[in-house]
Subunit: 264 residues, 2 copies
Amino acid sequence: MENAKDLRYAKARGHLSGRDVNNPTAAMLVIGDEVLSGRTRDANMYHLANCLTEQGIDLLEVRIITDRPDHIVASVNELRKSFDHVFTSGGIGPTHDDVTAEAVAAAFGVNIAVRDDARNLIKARCDEYGLTLNAARLRMARIPDGAELILNPVSAAPGFSLGNVHVMAGVPKIFVSMLEGLLARLPAGLPLISESIEINTVEGELAVRLSQIAEGFDKVQIGSYPFRKDGRFGVNIVVRSKDEHQVKATMAEIRHTFADYISG
Amino acid sequence: MENAKDLRYAKARGHLSGRDVNNPTAAMLVIGDEVLSGRTRDANMYHLANCLTEQGIDLLEVRIITDRPDHIVASVNELRKSFDHVFTSGGIGPTHDDVTAEAVAAAFGVNIAVRDDARNLIKARCDEYGLTLNAARLRMARIPDGAELILNPVSAAPGFSLGNVHVMAGVPKIFVSMLEGLLARLPAGLPLISESIEINTVEGELAVRLSQIAEGFDKVQIGSYPFRKDGRFGVNIVVRSKDEHQVKATMAEIRHTFADYISG
């Protein structure tokens, strides 16, 4: 048993070698009372995960927390020290429960105040729609000192990057539009390449041989995801790596080993 | 500006008074490489959030992490000290990438080994389906010392509770079935009561008055969620509290204040 344990731990460290190409790392912080209460199902995490995978930025942790400022400050400070990038979602609108911008400024120990460029973006949109630039809207022009704006093509009120923390809106359509602009200015890494195959048996039948295959390829992650479809059991095997050659070689080995369980 | 900031911080502490009824607190830990890579969209979090809200257990944080054992150990130890309950999802199957049970045992500093009651549950299922109790399946009978089993009506291999950490499978159907049995043995708190109303205007128009209403009710959380439907802008206002009377009073005030923007 101790051997099995050591092998598994070595394997987990092996996962890291999948990141030896020095891809940037990332965490996401969702400020989401409404997700924690089960009211809404987060969509931004799923979108960000896919965009980062494409761009070769390794998303290694997501945290969903309440909108308590002390909790936001603590989480931002913990994550920004551990990861190259921190992407936040939620809490930068005009209402009383939007406390993210202020909390991020507090985490960095910098001032936050209305900034002309942010104010002008919001004012232009207000003029266009015949709306008043009232106190609530002006709150959205508050930007921490030293931050760079993240443009919001949907509704004008910008997000911002402060150091390695990128602060975006929680409304999915706005989050998507902000992220597109932001990612264009972040350096890309090597994208993760993945292939998958359906094996027509239960996990317990293939686990031992799959584990042996995993030992042989140190730069791939092999994930095993059981499913049940129309009363039939099966397992999706997903092979991921930054090294396309290793993905191909691993998939060939899996196809050979489990030929009896693969359709078509 | 300083005043506004102080008020907001006081308000956030006010949120906590919503928990003065001493509801149990909870965090969720999703072991989910496949969620972080964007391959799958987590369903268990959404399900757990709703079940806990019904049962009066306050879910205050969710973390999604990779299946690196050191990361699991660190997260389990951090969360179990901060919250009354920690619910985990994923990583307890028969394959090489299932490292959760071992990592949770390591977090508590206890041994993990095949236990007869768990073994018997899995063996009975194997006998029923004519399957072999091989090494991979036997791995799922490994239970940390001192843990209590969480039954798995779907596929037999159990989860377990070790102290305040409840370890369950990631396959949604199994997670749901395990959680049902587990929640039946956890003490309930006061459920969160929520009501919502659609306001037919943009957030910037109602934020100031909404903030004033929020100041007047210290035991409610008022959330504001903008939407766009069929080209029409609106805001969902959600009022949540453990105190039904306060929810009703707050909703009445909101209906009165924004009468001009409410349909029907």
